[in-house]
């Protein structure tokens, strides 16, 4: 690593960690009231409706005596709950991770995606790696990092990846994670989604509403390097039925004329005649429509 890049990496990692730590209130004194005027910097946690989290009512809540309150998640987390939430993990409290009280036990289905080019050591035991942020060249140029706002350069591979060993994941605190545990990594920043996910309001439960609760990992739906879902073509809509035709504004609203949905030709003609003769003629337009109905029944 060259001398110019090293401070930049450190700064990036530190900033990311600091923002995250501030947002979950994990920095410094865990329960102390925030200094006045600090509320602006703690955006994201102050507008978080903590009372919405199940079971927090009977948890040792620090009474919000004055102004904003900085609270550590770990205050609410006992090892038992961590065991429930993450069954494959040792029961060490994970400060700041999205572990919530009384989460119904669940299992995470590991993502079936092939991570590709792993482990890193398969090449980098011979080739020296360059961990400095730069424009990626072959063979790493396949990755287009577009991770929300952070895609504009504040994230770098080693914000989430571990260069050493298997090249798996690594939390901001340096803890090594398997790819199957990506949800822990994601929950460092996306704590609201992690909360909803843990309770079942985000993500997807598979294999039935009853029985063992099995949920998909974050990376099953979100491609980790570009998590926003792509727009795509919708499947075919319903067939248009007489009397349930498209609303008036439909054609002007959509620039691209779509395929014929099976609108009866007589009906279409009646509509266009109607448009020519003027729609507000009362009985006349009624007649056209009833004629169209008769024609339609004949055909």
């Amino acid at each position: 690593m060259d001398a110019v890049a090293r401070p930049f990496v450190l700064l990036t990692v530190f900033c990311a960690w600091a923002v995250f730590a501030a947002s979950v209130g994990a920095v410094g004194e865990p329960a102390g009231p925030a200094p006045p005027g600090d509320s602006a910097s703690a955006v994201g946690v102050d507008d978080w409706d903590w009372s919405a989290v199940t079971g927090l009512d009977d948890a040792p809540v620090i009474a919000p005596s004055s102004g904003t309150q900085s609270r550590a998640l770990s205050d609410y987390v006992a090892p038992r709950e961590i065991e429930n939430a993450f069954p494959d993990f040792d029961a060490q409290p994970r400060q700041g991770y999205a572990v919530f009280k009384d989460v119904p036990p669940f299992e995470v289905i590991p993502s079936q995606r092939d991570p590709g080019m792993h482990p890193c050591s398969s090449c980098h035991q011979w080739v020296k790696g360059d961990p400095s942020p730069r424009n990626l060249k072959k063979p790493h140029d396949g990755f287009q990092l577009s991770h929300g706002l952070h895609g504009k350069g504040s994230f770098w591979c080693f914000t989430c990846h571990d260069l050493e060993g298997s090249g798996g994941l690594r939390t901001l605190e340096g803890e090594k994670l398997d790819f199957g545990d990506a949800y822990i990594l994601c929950s460092q920043c996306h704590s609201r989604q992690a909360r909803d996910w843990a309770y079942g309001a985000h993500g997807k439960r598979v294999s039935g509403w009853q029985g063992k609760r099995q949920v998909l990992n974050c990376t099953a739906c979100h491609y980790q390097h570009r998590p926003r879902l792509k727009p795509r073509e919708p499947k075919a809509g319903p067939r248009v039925r007489m009397g349930l035709e498209r609303p008036e504004h439909w054609v002007s609203q959509d620039q691209r004329p779509g395929p014929d949905h099976g609108v009866h030709s007589t009906w279409k003609r009646a509509r266009s005649d109607d448009a020519v003769s003027g729609r507000d003629k009362g009985e006349g337009s009624q007649q056209v429509i009833s004629e169209a109905l008769v024609n339609d029944e004949k055909s």
Binding site: A201, H202, G237, G258
Partner: protein, 311 residues
């Protein structure tokens, strides 16, 4: 709630005897005319046609009669489509009332649910139980929504997508409208239709404020290779012409603990299904912690179908 034993006692034994006699007559005639059982009787055998004619309302049938009716349904499907279907009569589970919630911030209008539903429920290919409505952002006016949208790509800027299907109302106007009690609420909260008892008057369709009911103008145009053989009497068994049908929360799946087909197909995870009576279920979490709303709530139909959005 339905209690078959009470109903059975109430049944006039003389009516029952007469029906059984006529059924027997049909059986005898059917046995005599087995040679002609091909095209006549609507592709049915004569004995089956007779037995169908005297088939009771599902709620009044004994277990034995339901079993016979189901066997006839399976035979009919074999004759009509050449497919061996398995029709079941899975009873509702104890302490289960189904509810559904949809996250409208997540729905992107792909219509994957619509087509999964069509395939799962053996719908005629011109019928869709689920109607995904494209709505203007900042509007909840259903009358200005468009469910025929066919943009090249969804979601479209300035729109959101609101999937609608049967809301399984707790106070269902369709049930009240039915003049022959061919539709009713099951103990697990699903509003079902006895397709063999329905007379096709479509009063229920007029009564439903959600346009959730669909009428079979013809026999559903099923492709035999695409028929889903796992069926339920009150659910996705092949329907006859001239009856009303609607979403039944995939009764053939959900009573066995599976998710409905639409939930399984949704690629965005916006659909949340579960037991309203289980305080640990996902749906209960959503109802307790999200700002949920229901459609046309002012009508007092008490839908068991909620919508919410991300904070």
């Amino acid at each position: 709630m339905r209690n078959p034993d009470d109903k059975r006692q109430e049944t006039d034994t003389s009516i029952r005897a007469r029906r059984n006699f006529l059924k027997g007559l049909g059986l005898a005639a059917g046995a005599g005319s087995a040679l002609f059982a091909g095209g006549a009787w609507g592709g049915n055998s004569m004995s089956d046609a007779f037995a169908d004619f005297f088939q009771e309302n599902y709620q009044r049938m004994s277990a034995e009669e339901i079993r016979e009716a189901i066997e006839r349904i399976e035979r009919k499907a074999k004759r009509r489509y050449g497919v061996d279907i398995k029709c079941e009569n899975t009873p509702p589970q104890e302490d289960v009332v189904f509810g559904y919630a949809i996250n409208v911030s997540k729905c992107r209008g792909y219509r994957d649910c619509v087509h999964a539903c069509v395939e799962e429920n053996n719908l005629g290919r011109d019928t869709q139980y689920i109607r995904v409505i494209e709505m203007d952002r900042d509007s909840t006016d259903l009358h200005h929504g468009d469910h025929y949208y066919d943009h090249g790509q969804v979601p479209v800027e300035g729109k959101y997508y609101l999937p609608m299907q049967c809301m399984q109302c707790d106070n269902p106007p369709c049930v009240k409208a039915c003049p022959v009690q061919a539709t009713w609420t099951e103990p697990d909260g699903i509003v079902v239709v006895d397709y063999d008892w329905c007379i096709g008057c479509r009063y229920c369709m007029a009564a439903c404020p959600y346009q959730a009911r669909h009428f079979n103008w013809g026999a559903p145009d099923l492709v035999p290779a695409q028929i889903n053989p796992d069926t339920h009497y009150l659910g996705n068994r092949p329907r006859p012409k001239g009856v009303v049908e609607k979403c039944h929360f995939c009764v053939q799946r959900t009573r066995k603990g599976r998710q409905p087909a639409c939930q399984e197909a949704c690629p965005t995870g916006s659909r949340i299904f579960g037991n309203l009576l289980d305080p640990n279920s996902e749906i209960r979490y959503v109802l307790a912690h999200k700002a949920v709303f229901r459609l046309k709530e002012e009508l007092g139909t008490e839908p068991k179908f909620w919508y919410f959005r991300d904070e």
